[in-house]
Each structure stands twice: as C-alpha cells, then as structure tokens.
C-alpha cells in the first residue's frame, strides 16, 4: 500500500533545492531575454509599416507567392510552385523578425536565454520528479505541487514547439517572467511539506484527471499570451494602416512580434487543439466524482468554474466561426475564458469553499 510508505525527507529536501536552483537559472534566462530585446531595439527594420503603407501605392496585388519545397531530394521532379492567396479582407503583413530584431548580438543573447531555459526546465522537472519519488505518488496533491508542475509543463510545451521548429521564441520573455512569478508564489505562499495524500485523493483518477488539467492549463496559458500579444499587435497594425503614428517604444517592441494574423492563428490552433482534452478532463473529473462522492455532477464550485471555462472556450470557438465576431472580439472571449481557468485554480482553491478545497493551499 502506497499510503503506508514514509515520505523520504532527504529527497523532499533535494526537490526543494532543485526548484530553487531552477528559479535562479530562470532569472538568468529572464535577464538574457531582456538583453536580447534591448539589442534588438537598435535595429530599425520597419517592415510592418512598409508592408502596410507600401501596399497602398504599389500596383502589385497583395498576394504572397510561396514556394513549397519538396521533402528531400529523392524525387527528380521539381515540386510545382503553389501560389497561395490570403482570404479576402486579411492584411498581408510579414511576421516581425523576433526579439533580436535581426541583430547578431541580440540573437546570441536570445540563444543563451533559450539554453538557460532548457537548463532551468531540466532542474525544475527534476525537482518535480524527486518530489514525486519522495512521496511515492503523483506530485499533484496540493497547490505548491500543482504550481511547480504547471510551470514545468508550460516551459516544456514551449521548448517542444521550439524543437518542432515553430516560430515561438517571442513567447520566451513573457513565459519566463510568469514562470518566475508562479514559482515565487509557489515557494513563498503555497509551500506545503511533502506528504501523503488524503484518502479522497488516493485514486488512479488523480493521474488522469489532474495531469490533463495541468497540461491543458499550460497550453491555454501559451494561447492566452499569444492572444494578448495579438491584441497589441493588431491595434499597432490598425494604427499604421490608418496612417497613425505609434509611440516609439510600442513600435520597437511590436514591430518585432509576428504579424497579428500569425499570432491569432497560433492562439486559435493552440486553444482548439487542447479544447477536446479539456472536455476530457472535465468528464474524467465527473467520473471520479461519481466514484468518490456518489454523483458525477453536483455544481460544486470547482465543477462550476471548469464548466464556465469550458463554455468560455466553446464560445470562443463559436465566435471564430461567426462573422462579425472574428478577430478582436473572439480574442477578448479567449482571454476571459483563460481568466476563468485561472480563477478556478487560485480563486476557488483559496476563497471559495468547495469539496475540492482539501487540495491544500
């Protein structure tokens, strides 16, 4: 019986030290990112403005020709050239060059930041794993454990995107910043000594339900960052398109982000991709509740807010398919939905009494 196992004090201590070490490395990664942005600000690219204002004068149609390259050189035949046109009404604005702004030094610091993030991620993941070993159970018994796992998964997902060669380095700075915040809150206010689970949590559904919930949260978070940046970038592009003059700081920062269309697409993909998993998470929770409390749905605060979050994201997906709600309005809905997710985590655990409150602050 797992419950009989003693918690291993030494390992628990090691886990804490690993988490602190990862915080130190995340801080270095944060500084490296800042340096990257500072160096990047010295380049004056101005591609967005050129694209937006240039398109008006130029006689050429605003279409992009994309050459789709073949997969390897095995076929002798050249792959045909496929011409793509954006849907009617969208702007064709190129993505920004990224935080480094095309500068060599900036790029160097950016790479350093990513390497440090990888190191910090490894330390933090090791911290989570040693914690799990020390208690011989899934490391998701209280808010401290949720928080550390949550940021590990968020960073892991980001690194996964990088590994898959997706253009996501722009998430680096906001992500590392919030991870530091999350870990700070976890270690100072939410810290709970490693220990066994209360019987109500001792179920294999913990592995299923909580792991998917944490994963969904991490991915929704990346989507929310993209959505927020989309809103800024979109107003920036709108301003330029209407002949406005954005402030120099805003210009410098937003210029370097991907285009509003790319950010919007990224956040949609990410949110849509995890939505079925979030649905599954709620259903798994309901099945667990059916076993633990004798009813699968009882409008408990945690259940209500999971439902609200779910409806929020469903509304977002609907909005994307509804004319007149695309774009900014849909983005606001996505942000509200993520806000509900956050409230469900912090708000319900701390302020609202719920059957789930034994999760331990």
């Amino acid at each position: 019986m797992i419950l009989a196992a003693e918690t291993n004090e030494g390992l628990a201590q090691l886990s804490n030290e690993l988490v602190y070490a990862s915080m130190a490395v995340y801080t270095l990664a944060f500084l490296a990112h800042i340096t990257e942005w500072v160096f990047g600000s010295r380049s004056k690219v101005g591609r967005t403005a050129a694209a937006l204002t240039g398109a008006k004068d130029a006689a050429a149609p605003a279409t992009v020709s994309v050459r789709v390259e073949g997969a390897g050189g095995t076929t002798v035949l050249d792959r045909p050239k496929v011409v793509t046109r954006s849907a009617a009404g969208t702007r064709d604005v190129p993505d920004g060059p990224g935080a480094a702004g095309g500068t060599v030094k900036g790029d160097l610091y950016g790479r350093i930041a990513v390497s440090l993030t990888v190191l910090a991620f490894a330390l933090e993941a090791a911290g989570v794993v040693t914690r799990a070993i020390s208690v011989q159970r899934a490391p998701w018994g209280n808010m401290y454990e949720f928080s550390t796992t949550f940021s590990t998964v968020a960073v892991g997902t980001y690194l996964g995107f990088l590994l898959a060669k997706k253009n996501v380095r722009w998430i680096g700075l906001p992500l590392v910043t919030t991870v530091l915040l999350d870990l700070g809150v976890a270690t100072t206010w939410l810290y709970t000594d490693s220990d066994q689970l209360v019987p109500a949590l001792d179920s294999y559904w913990l592995w299923i339900h909580v792991s998917t919930a944490i994963f969904c949260g991490a991915v929704f978070y990346l989507g929310a960052v993209a959505t927020l940046l989309y809103l800024f970038r979109d107003s920036y592009e709108n301003k330029l398109a209407n002949g406005g003059e954005p402030g120099s700081f805003a210009r410098s920062v937003l210029e370097r982000l991907p285009s509003a269309a790319s950010l919007d697409k990224f956040s949609y993909r990410v949110n849509a991709a995890v939505f079925p998993l979030w649905t599954f998470t709620i259903i798994a929770g309901a099945i667990w509740a059916g076993d633990a409390w004798g009813r699968y749905w009882g409008w408990d605060a945690k259940e209500v807010w999971s439902f609200i979050t779910w409806v929020g994201y469903a509304a977002y997906l609907h909005a994307r398919a509804t004319a007149g709600w695309k774009g900014r309005k849909a983005a606001y809905i996505a942000l509200i939905a993520f806000g509900c997710f956050l409230f469900n985590y912090y708000g319900v655990n701390i302020f609202v009494s719920s059957k789930h409150s034994y999760a331990g602050v």
């Binding site: 419950l3 009989a4 937006l52 398109a55 008006k56 149609p61 605003a62 994309v66 035949l77 792959r79 045909p80 496929v82 011409v83 793509t84 046109r85 954006s86 009617a88 009404g89 969208t90 702007r91 000594d193 220990d195 066994q196 209360v198 019987p199 109500a200 001792d202 179920s203 398109a241 697409k265 849509a272 991709a273 939505f275 079925p276 649905t279 259903i283 099945i287 667990w288 059916g290 076993d291 633990a292 004798g294 009813r295 409008w299 408990d300 605060a301 209500v304 439902f307 609200i308 409806v311 469903a314 509304a315 609907h318 398919a321 509804t322 007149g324 709600w325 774009g327 509900c340 609202v352």
Partner: protein, 561 residues
Amino acid sequence: MSKTDTTETNRAAGADEAAAADLSTAPREETAGGPALGVVGWIRWFWRQLTSMRVALILLFLLSLGAVPGSLIPQTSADEMKVADFKAAHESLTPLYEKLQLFDVYSSVWFSAIYILLFVSLIGCIVPRTWQFVGQLRGLPPGAPRKLTRLPAYTTWRTGADPEQVREAALGVLKGRRFRARSAGDAVAAEKGYLREAGNLLFHIALIVMLVAFAWGQLFKSEGGKLVVEGDGFSNTLTQYDDFKSGSQFGVDELEPFSFSLDSFTGTYEKSGPQRGTPRTFEAAVTYTRGGGKDEKAVIRVNEPLKIGDSKVYLIAHGYAPVVTVRDGRGKSVFHGAVPLLPIDNNITSTGAIKVMDGYRDKNGEKQQLGFKAFFVPTFAGAGKGDMFSQFPALDFPVMALTGYHGNLRVDSGLPQNVYQLDTSKMTQFEVDGGTGVAQRMRPGETMTLPDGAGSITFEKDIKEWASFQVSQQPGNGLALGGAVAAIAGLTGSLFIQRRRVWVRAVRGEDGVTVVEMAGLGRSESAKLPEELADLAVALTATAPPAPEPAEAEASEGVEK
C-alpha cells in the same frame, strides 16, 4: 479590415462563393433588419434569430455568467447548513436572494430558461444542418469555378499529355487519396474531409444526449444516507434510511433489494509531522447479500463504492460510538449499547446524547427517563491542558465527559427529535458535588455513580466505530458517459479535420499543348492545403510530366488576376 481593396475583395468573394457553397453547414448570419410581415413573419424571424450562431454565442455567454453566482453563494442542493448560516448572517439580502432563487441557482427559473433556450436553439440548428449535410453527402462536389487562379492555393503547368488523359489520371489520383471526385466538363472536382462536418454534428447531438441523460438522472435518482455502527446492519428499504431524497419520478419499489452489515471500520492517520492527524486510509469492511442470496464480503473505500445491481454504496463519513451501560438503583441494566456520536472537528472531538427511554425506575420505583449529554475525545490532551478537545483522530487516549439528566425526554412530544441532541426543557440535571456542576470525565472501563442511589452509567472498554453510507441509484449514467465519449470523438474530428475541395482543369491551349490547372479551397486558411495540393500535383505529373515553358511572360500570366 483595411478598406483599400474592398472592390478587389468583393470580386474575389463573388468568384469563390459558388465554389465554397456548402463547404460547411453553419447557418448564414442574417444581418438584415426586422421581420417581413404579420405574425408568421415574426415567428419565422424569431426562430431564425434563435437558431443563428450569434444568438447561440450570446446564450453560451449567459449560461456561463449565470453559473457564477451559484459558485459564490451557498447552494441548498450542496449544503443546507451553509445556506442557513448565510441567511442568518445576511438578513437584509436574504429576501432579495430568495426572490432571485440565488440559493438554488441551478434549478432556478432563469437558469433553466437559459439552457432550455440554448438547447432549443441547438436542436433548431442541428436538424436543418443534418438534412443539409445528408444532401451534401448524396450530392456531388460542385464544378470548378471559372477562374481557378482566384482560389487560395493554385498551381499550373503545361504538359504533353492529352487533356482527357490528365483528367482521367487526376480522377484516379484523387480517388486514390479518398477524395470524392467526379468529372465535370473540362475539369475534375473533388472534395474530402466530410468527417469534419459529421464530427461537428455528432458533437452537438452528443450535447443533447448528455442533457437528456442528466435530466433523466435527476428525475429517477434516489439517494439515501445511513449511519451504521460496527456489528450492525442495514437493509435497503425506505424505513431504514436516516434521510432519503429522490427524483420526482422515482418509485420506492425500485429500491434494489440488498442488505449489508458493517464488520469493521479502519481509519489510519498521519502520526507525525506538520500534517499530523491527516487521514490516510478509511476502509469499511462489510458483508452483503443481494436479494436473499449468499453472503459476500467487500471493502468500501472513499473512492471505491460497492456496486450492488443498480445501486452504489459510498463511504461518506465515520466517527466513534462508545458503548455504555446504564443501571438503575437496584443494579438492573436498563440500557446497553453503542451510541454513535457526531464529530465536530477534524480530530473527531464528538458530541451526542444517550437517551434511556424506558425500563428505568428511580429509587421510589417511579418510571422516569434518563438522558446524558456526551462529549467524547479519542485522544485527550491531559487534565488541565486547556479545553477538552481531541488532539488526534485515533483512539490513543479516549475520554468521555457525561452530564446526566432525569425527567421527560419529550420524544413523544410530536416534534421530530434529533437523536444527537437532548431536549432538557423537561429534565433536571443530576446534582454533581452538591450542585449541578461540571460534567464528569471518564476513561473506558470507568463507572459514574449517579447521586442519591439513582443508578450508574458505565463507559465500557469496547469503543466501536461507525461509518455512514450513501446509497445512490442514478439511472442515465451510462447514457451520459456515452454522450460524453461521443462528444469528445466528434469534437476531435471537427477540430482536427479540414474539409477542402480540389479542382483539376486540363484544356488544350492555343498552341496545342495541354495546360493543367489545379486549385484548392478549404473552410479556413491552412498551411496544409497548399502542401496537399503540391503533393497531388506531384502525383499527377507521373502521367502529365511538365513540358518546357514557352516563355516566361506566359507563365506569369497564370498568376495574374
């Protein structure tokens, strides 16, 4: 968004429209103003509004907004005690809240109105969409638009092969990739990804199934609570329950015939560290029989209910039941049994009442009733160490304090009486040390002698535990689960599959060389679409190898608007 190329946009949209027709079954957004004429017109207008996506969106919003107060204000369905506390603490707010049904949000008129409207909208949306989709499945992919260059992905090349040959090959390639394809005039039209629409419809239908299952469960469910002391039993009939709730359509004869007895209850707790006292295991070992069958053993844990037929027996709570013996003045035992006490904190400090209803006579031979207020701690801190609260939930140093009364228990007063409380309005406290002072603390095995030869009460060494169980029967669970699984499957299909069309046109050019044009169109922009088109083109070049371009000028013509 940018106004510069609206004319451009309109022309392009016009060309795409026919080709894109029916690529989805989503209802058209109607922005045009009010209804046309008369009552029928109004009804039709209202119906069209209700089943539009915009209204669905607004209703979804309202639903989540409406769910909020229920999570912040105590709900009768969840915890009646909390509601009572809240009402006592907020006297001025209470009437308003009651009027707004804020203590029963999820069964309130307004919340029901939102979800019923939403589901009417949903059904009103699904039925026509399903018909439309069936029509699309039976129909054929629409013919190629006149100008393929306008579509989101486009490619062209010249080849020495015959146009008929090329079309034939295209048909083969597309069908080979599970497109539905047909020849139409000088082009081949193909479509793929119907599962997207099917998944979307399945998802929305599954939502209705889940709602029906939920409603069904509410109507036919039953839920009863029973406290059982170790060694005692329970049989599943209405009269045996301590409390019982059921849906409006539940019939009592639907109770599953079974009985069980609680052999033992085991609780273990963290012995040290900051979480000292936190429960680690709760296990109730029971012996049960079903419909007069043979005995079977089972262990019920917090996450592992016992399933007997359609019923599930859940372990809900536990506590202690000290065994006491009450004797009258002549030493005759008038009460002997385990008295379940209710925990009031996490360390199972417990309170309750011992009631001796009949059989007791005082020293004058008069019939009287006895009552004791009991205060029990499984682990006592030691005399003089603050209030008498338990330090640990296990039976490490059990102590019970009893205050005795005699008189009339008022059990026959007609008012329902709480078995854990003593009504002392018609009773007198036994004198303690010449007054009616503090209760007497006892250790197991000790006996308290009542004054003036009124008898005695013994706190027996054997302290039993009790467990309380919830027995629920909830039909529709399987249906709800089926709906949920279908919803996820449908959702996955609908979000990850792209529905798209491809056209291949092959015509002989003026110089006698065949010109092949290919174009693709999807519901939404996707990077995969041009890639797929390129793949198809590569496959097609096996039959229609590119011929050398005549001149650069002509090649760029294809791209021009």
